[in-house]
């Protein structure tokens, strides 16, 4: 297994990682066994629900519910105004308003003035 070379553009699978074979400490093995126990418990739960002949509804995934909740309903309660968040908010929320106003206003004012003076050259005139 030590001479295994990864397929190009692919990561080496965890089961073929040399760290899984040589110089394993008992703590590492205990950790891997705990993770495997968690995985198998979840798999068992899922398979029981999946193969239950009396099941009529969708199998809901609490991890998905938590993910959706965290991204949508749990952001503002955990928001705190710090230097970084204030800077980001100011840069992306407040500054564009003023910036866009001034840019558009000045652009349109110069165009209006040129039209009044008669020096405006229409860039994409097609028919006339």
């Amino acid at each position: 297994m030590a001479e295994y070379k990864e397929a190009p553009l692919a990561t080496r699978p965890k089961t073929l990682d040399p760290a899984e074979y040589y110089n394993l400490s008992p703590e590492y093995r205990r950790a891997e066994e705990e993770r495997a126990a968690l995985r198998t418990r979840l798999k068992r739960q899922y398979q029981l629900q999946l193969n239950n002949p009396h099941r009529k509804e969708l199998i809901e995934d609490p991890a998905l519910t938590r993910w959706t909740y965290a991204r949508i309903s749990n952001v503002y309660p955990n928001f705190r105004p710090t230097a970084r968040t204030s800077l980001v908010g100011g840069l992306f929320g407040v500054a564009p308003l003023f910036l866009l106003y001034f840019i558009l206003k000045s652009n349109r004012d110069t165009k209006e003035q040129k039209m009044k003076d008669g020096t405006y050259e229409r860039p994409f005139s097609l028919s006339y």
């Binding site: 553009l9 418990r41 979840l42 798999k43 739960q45 899922y46 938590r66 952001v75 955990n78 105004p81």
Partner: protein, 199 residues
């Protein structure tokens, strides 16, 4: 030994009973519907299974790890800098394309098992989108190559604008005194002679 689902239903029933009792005891501040019907519909996940604020002590840390189906040693929440992550775990930034294609995933298209904690940017890391698989050359070399090429092309096009090089041209020359009659000139009057040559 009770199965996890049976245990959870029992917990939920006890939770609701406790909530109803509490609502009846201190009716002040409770809405009338809360007092009569209990807290709220207990459909789906209960409040303790949902994400919450950043864990402040060891018990909260362990409870959060258990909630997300992680070992307490593996559970690492995002740093508490007020950006709104709460106690959500910080998982490694690896795309789904990097996961083993030959393992029996519960959801093979997503390469994910049921109940496994979902990365915060999971919808970015699906196999249709961002991929963190190793590339033939490292990121720095790729960046340098691309930017170098774009920069070189921009430079050359800029130089071409400043120092143009093309066949020599002159303005178009028209006969008959610059087409005097065709341009609406008076036939009675003599046009001024236009010479396009030098002798």
């Amino acid at each position: 030994m009770r199965s996890p689902q049976c245990q959870r239903t029992v917990n939920m029933a006890a939770f609701r009973a406790g909530l109803l009792a509490r609502a009846l005891v201190n009716g002040k501040g409770q809405r009338i519907s809360n007092v009569i019907f209990g807290a709220r519909a207990a459909s789906g996940v209960s409040k303790d299974m949902l994400p919450g604020p950043y864990p402040k002590n060891a018990t909260e840390w362990a409870a959060a790890a258990k909630k997300y189906n992680l070992r307490p040693e593996d559970y690492q929440p995002y740093p508490n800098d007020g950006r709104g992550f709460g106690d959500y775990p910080m998982l490694p930034n690896k795309s789904q394309q990097e996961r083993d294609p030959f393992y029996q995933w519960d959801h093979p298209d997503l390469r994910r098992n049921w109940g496994e904690p979902i990365h915060w940017e999971f919808d970015m890391f699906t196999r249709n989108r961002v991929d963190t698989s190793p590339s033939p050359v490292d990121w720095a070399t790729m960046c340098k190559t691309l930017l170098g090429f774009i920069g070189f092309m921009l430079l050359m096009f800029g130089l071409g604008e400043v120092f143009p090089s093309y066949q020599p041209v002159a303005p178009k020359q028209y006969p008959y005194n610059n087409l005097y009659l065709e341009n609406g000139g008076d036939p009675e009057k003599e046009p001024e002679t236009v010479k396009h040559y030098e002798i």
